[in-house]
Symmetry: C2
Subunit: 243 residues, 2 copies
């Protein structure tokens, strides 16, 4: 069933879908009065029946409301070093499907791509839209927040605040991802995951992250690409915590 | 270090790199006599020093030979329902990084994309090349085998032969991936993973797979895209078995 995120909770049992989503319902989906849609707001999922269809506003009566149960038990923030052009789109889409609550791009020493500040608003809008579309499609109850770019030091400081915080480091040979997360992903826990750019983290960055309390871990025997590493870790967290 | 797969084992301590790889060493990498390359053959990794560079043949003396230790402890075959155009390239690249030993595209009821037989040789070569390049880049000791397209029944029959065999089914609500694989991934075990097309498996297909002994499992609370599901499962298997 089509799923939409709305900015305001239903009022007197009627949900209002506006803007692009209303146009999508009216023109692309060509839905009619009486057909069903799902709307999400504030951690609640509302099953609704359409009452009116207009190009700017669709209203729908709430038939059933239930707490969302599609969100992961842990709140995972993904800190992803700026990858080469285009890869961040893929990472945001897949990280949304895999349950990330928040995605923070950051700059590190070996980043080849260094998006300028001028384009940052436009980019943020594009990435937020990718996250929104992915959240609708995979049936999530919330859309991950996409944050503006941070510097490395700020990202580490932010990451270190979580209950469990790890970074992927190809030179780490003793601590595995399982060592770092197994048995630690309690319901409600906050988890920080940091992954590096194409060339990985420098030894100085790795030392700074460890000093701040972010744990270096190995992702196994092969070197994963910078866009594959976050998907591997989010999958492992999902497997470990959700099932 | 640049890594190459060679067709013949080193002869009298000298490895021969030919064809595209030789041209790549000579022209793109512009490597010289004395520089080091890694070559792989038959599960052995050879660290070598270049002895001669030509556009069609590069020879290199073996300095050290060791058994490859980058291959996963389980032998995983991924059976992937034909997805829409382009997605199979991504799946093959990522599945190679994530350790799949063999990748088998198959046709199922709801496949939107149905590549014709005429293009199959060309496609097989392209996918094999993607797997080869990904294997070089991530430092694997073997290149996954890409098989020709199978029908659904043949894929199920083949999958069911493994020690552990699962398929991702969105209507499965009780058996999780963890239920299906945890504690069962012994060293040397063969594992089959089947994932569906954009619209998932039909109930009839799911019943047929289960009858054959391939276990239906849920991938959690969200609906993963057809290209995300195999990467999630391969990551979970890697996390469960490797670390």
């Amino acid at each position: 069933m089509p799923r939409f995120f709305i900015d305001q909770p239903p009022d007197n049992g009627v949900a209002a879908v506006v803007g692009d989503d209303a146009r999508h319902i009216a023109r692309s989906l060509r839905m009619a009065v009486g057909e069903n849609i799902t709307v999400c707001h504030g951690g609640v999922v509302y099953e609704c029946a359409i009452e009116s269809v207009g190009g700017e506003l669709v209203t729908a009566r709430v038939v059933e409301a239930r707490p969302d149960d599609s969100e992961p038990p842990c709140r995972v923030t993904l800190y992803v070093a700026e990858p080469k052009a285009g890869k961040l789109d893929l990472i945001v889409q897949k990280a949304t499907e895999l349950g990330a609550a928040r995605i923070v791009p950051f700059l590190s020493e070996r980043c080849v791509s260094r998006p300028d500040r001028d384009s940052s608003d436009k980019r943020l809008r594009r990435l937020s839209k990718i996250a929104l579309e992915a959240a609708k499609q995979c049936g999530r109850g919330a859309v991950p927040e996409i944050c503006g770019q941070m510097g490395f030091a700020a990202a580490v400081k932010d990451a270190a605040r979580a209950d469990v915080s790890v970074f992927a480091y190809e030179k780490e040979s003793s601590v595995t991802l399982k060592d770092a997360i197994a048995g630690k992903l309690a319901v409600g826990a906050s988890v920080s995951v940091m992954t590096g750019p194409e060339g990985g983290f420098s030894p100085e960055e790795a030392a700074a992250a460890e000093d701040a309390g972010v744990m270096a871990c190995s992702l196994g025997r092969r070197i994963l690409r910078c866009e594959t590493a976050p998907l591997y870790i989010l999958s492992a967290i999902g497997y470990e915590a959700e099932l």
